[in-house]
């Protein structure tokens, strides 16, 4: 009897265990209500199918854009075929319908507006920074959130739209932005914030191929415009704040096959590695986030490199830190570095070296002009990188550069307590580009007159996190901007025009002897190329931080400027951090 009871109890205990498990399993399954037995009545559709105002395709004009045609881009002034308008980076157009004499009559022709639809929670988001590309009446424009638009260049009608699906959790340095596309052989090439190079069919906007080139987990992204050189498309990396290792990549135009990658920070044993201590090279920075220029005769690509990592603390990286904050002259066929010139050796001010390198000739000599963030205009012999001249073009207190030899003498470096230094971390000229007019033989540059309090701080590296080694606060200082004209033959300033805010938009020069200059307060100005006098201005309604271009359709000259206040505002114009946001492309023409 006792045994029977014991068995019964054990059975009951076993039953209780099983019941508990069943209950847990049921709970685990969620005990959810059954799904309704409703048939599918609705199907998702892409936005394109819900926008009857869109034409859906563009004329196949881009099919005829060959690498050979890009070599002669300046000979097609009705188009703006490549990022700077031509390989030399001059941002000069031979169009002369709009002149000093008639520019005062310039009127709006059309406006293209876009609005973010998303959650990227940054006040630095809402900015169109691109240089629109124009091919025979079709304009290709890129924007934030992976957008690329094809527009009718005469009317602004939207032909097609592509949006790359960019995850929310990618690392941005300075805003949800993109600086433009490249167009060739029927394709539109664009980099994405999650590190891909995407080739779109230029007629339909549909993706043809995509290739990864940036390590998003390390903090890399792609923001710069690709550059087509011969049968390759070159694209740089972004993310210099995250202790990455910068590189430039080349892909086959047709297939997207990677042809080469060139790191800008050498590994141990490679040339230049002696400028780095053990291990520091792996986080050395030197990103390549601004498009390069190209000399087809020398067959050299000139590409700027960004700051070393960490930004403000040179302690972990004694040495000159090649090839950061420099220009590298690259063989486009294999990415080999033919020569280099370092603007800021052992940079501890975040001055980068990415700004454009403008190619021009003087007295039969092939030269290169570069307005560096460190506040100096450099002139180099672009055949071999030999120093010609350096001239300060803004307030400079960080150090001195011998105008005759180029020898750099640092004077003030960031301290743990903090010290005031000019220029600020965004530099005396931010990335927006200068221009060179072969008519006036002058260089024109936007100027950021911002200083900052630089503080060296703790330096700890963790993949995907900021690797700054300090900070720079631009807030307590007086700030303004200028457009300045320089004679590259002497380095002398010819004229200056002052803006109440730092000038952070690229300049455009034309054969009408007009310089177009956007301002941070939204004004778009036409200046006399010879005197700097303001000839015309128009309030676009929002800050300009982009690349204006000019082109013509059916004999009519247009000037286009994207706007939208954003980017690294606290670096280059903190007094406008709270300014309103909004984005549009404004296009002007004579009546």
């Amino acid at each position: 009897m006792t045994t029977l009871i014991r068995r019964a109890v054990r059975r009951r205990a076993l039953g209780a265990q099983l019941a508990t498990l069943v209950a847990l399993a049921a709970a685990g399954a969620g005990c959810t209500r059954a799904l309704p037995n409703w048939p599918v009545t609705e199907q998702s559709r892409p936005f394109a199918a819900l926008d009857s105002s869109r034409r859906g395709s563009a004329p196949p004009v881009a099919q005829a854009v060959t690498p050979e045609r890009l070599l002669r881009a300046r000979g097609e002034p009705h188009n703006w075929l490549t990022y700077y308008g031509a390989y030399d980076g001059q941002r000069f157009s031979t169009l002369d319908q709009i002149t000093r004499a008639n520019v005062a009559s310039l009127r709006p022709a059309w406006v293209f507006q876009a609005s973010p639809l998303g959650l990227t929670p940054s006040p630095a988001t809402y900015s169109l920074e691109a240089a629109p590309i124009v091919v025979d009446g079709v304009m290709y424009l890129s924007g934030y959130e992976g957008y690329v638009w094809a527009l009718d260049a005469a009317t602004g009608e939207l032909l097609w739209q592509y949006q790359h699906s960019v995850p929310l959790d990618v690392a941005h340095c300075c805003g949800n932005v993109n600086r433009g596309v490249a167009v060739a052989r029927g394709k539109v090439y664009v980099g994405t914030l999650n590190g891909y190079l995407v080739a779109l069919d230029a007629a339909s906007g549909r993706m043809v191929w995509q290739q990864p080139l940036a390590d998003v987990r390390a903090g890399e992204s792609v923001t710069g415009a690709p550059l087509v050189v011969k049968n390759l498309v070159l694209v740089g990396s972004s993310g210099g704040e995250y202790g990455v290792r910068g590189h430039l990549d080349a892909f086959d135009l047709e297939t997207g096959r990677r042809v080469w990658r060139r790191y800008t920070v050498p590994k141990p044993g490679e040339p230049g590695s002696e400028t780095w201590p053990k291990d520091a090279w792996a986080r050395g920075g030197g990103t390549t986030w601004i498009t390069g220029t190209y000399d087809p005769e020398l067959d050299l690509v000139y590409w700027g490199t960004g700051n070393p990592g960490p930004l403000f603390d040179g302690g972990p990286r004694p040495g000159t830190n090649l090839y950061t904050s420099a220009v590298i002259a690259i063989d486009p066929d294999d990415g080999a570095i033919r020569w280099h010139y370092q603007w800021t050796p052992h940079d501890v001010w975040d001055y980068d070296g990415v700004n454009e390198n403008i190619l021009f000739e003087q007295d039969g000599r092939k030269l290169l002009a570069h307005f560096d963030r460190n506040g100096h205009l450099f002139i180099l012999d672009r055949t071999n990188g030999q120093f010609v001249r350096a001239t300060p073009f803004a307030r400079v207190t960080w150090g001195e550069i011998d105008p005759a030899t180029g020898k750099v003498t640092p004077r003030i470096i960031p301290t743990p307590e903090g010290v005031d230094i000019c220029p600020g971390p965004a530099g005396a000229k931010e990335w927006p580009h200068a221009t060179y007019s072969p008519r006036t033989r002058l260089l024109y540059t936007p100027v950021v007159e911002v200083c900052a309090r630089f503080k060296r701080g703790p330096t700890v590296y963790r993949e995907g996190l900021y690797y700054l080694g300090g900070e720079a606060d631009a807030r307590p200082h007086e700030q303004w901007g200028e457009v300045k004209a320089f004679d590259p033959a002497t380095g002398r300033q010819q004229w200056a025009w002052r803006s109440p805010h730092p000038v952070v938009a690229s300049l455009l020069s034309t054969a009408g002897d007009v310089i177009f200059a956007g301002e941070a307060n939204g004004y778009f100005n036409a200046l006399d190329a010879r005197t700097g006098e303001v000839l015309w201005r128009y309030n676009t309604g929002n800050g300009i931080h982009s690349n204006p271009v000019t082109y013509s359709v059916a004999g009519k000259q247009y000037v286009a400027v994207p706007n939208g206040w954003g980017g690294w505002i606290d670096g280059y114009a903190p007094e406008l951090f709270g300014a309103r946001r909004g984005t549009a492309l404004h296009v002007f023409a004579l009546p």
């Binding site: 265990q17 699906s165 995850p167 290792r245 993949e463």
Partner: protein
């Protein structure tokens, strides 16, 4: 007989327990996440995550998380429900184990409102209308790892709770990785 039952129980228990989300909460890796701020949030949920209780809206997190299942054709599939009167996607987080195509069956069981879904997809966002008591189907493509948002564009339903996320698991493709030794991660 008794030993057979015990043996069966011993074999079945891990499988049952492994599939039981409540029991999986007891894993050390999960318990480690229950730090004081998270515990405070969970304790506050009845107040802040119910429509018109502490707040007018609700937190998206209450919709929970669901996994898309990979079909024989390689397409990942998940079901999402919009419950009555809650301004909520259930689940609010959809996990894709890898990049690719995702097919969503969405049921609007909310008798108080029609809804809609704006969804991310490579090339162009998608829109799906969801009348009251309807069943809609979305087919989207998300190739690359990271997380993406989706939401209901009707009125301000997104900010009242109808904000959802799609997690795409994966790593940077090998050809895009930096040539350097492994680096310390944030929690190292």
């Amino acid at each position: 007989m008794k030993s057979v039952a015990r043996c069966a129980l011993a074999l079945a228990a891990p499988a049952v327990l492994g599939s039981c989300d409540y029991v999986r909460l007891l894993r050390p890796s999960v318990l480690k996440q229950l730090n004081p701020p998270v515990v405070r949030l969970v304790n506050e949920l009845p107040r802040v995550d119910d429509v018109n209780e502490g707040l007018i809206g609700g937190l998206f997190a209450r919709g929970g998380l669901g996994h898309a299942k990979v079909g024989g054709d390689g397409v990942m599939r998940a079901t999402v429900r919009i419950p009555a009167g809650e301004y909520l996607w259930r689940p609010a987080i959809i996990v894709m184990p890898k990049g690719g195509e995702l097919e969503l069956d969405i049921y609007n069981e909310d008798p108080y409102s029609y809804h809609a879904a704006v969804l991310p997809s490579l090339g162009e966002r998608h829109a799906l209308m969801l009348p009251v008591n309807s069943h809609g189907k979305a087919r989207i493509r998300l190739d690359q790892p990271g997380y993406y948002w989706f939401g209901c564009p009707v009125a301000n339903h997104v900010t009242r709770g109808m904000l959802g996320f799609i997690f795409v698991y994966g790593d940077t493709p090998a050809e895009a990785k930096l040539d350097r030794p492994p680096q310390p991660r944030p929690r190292n």
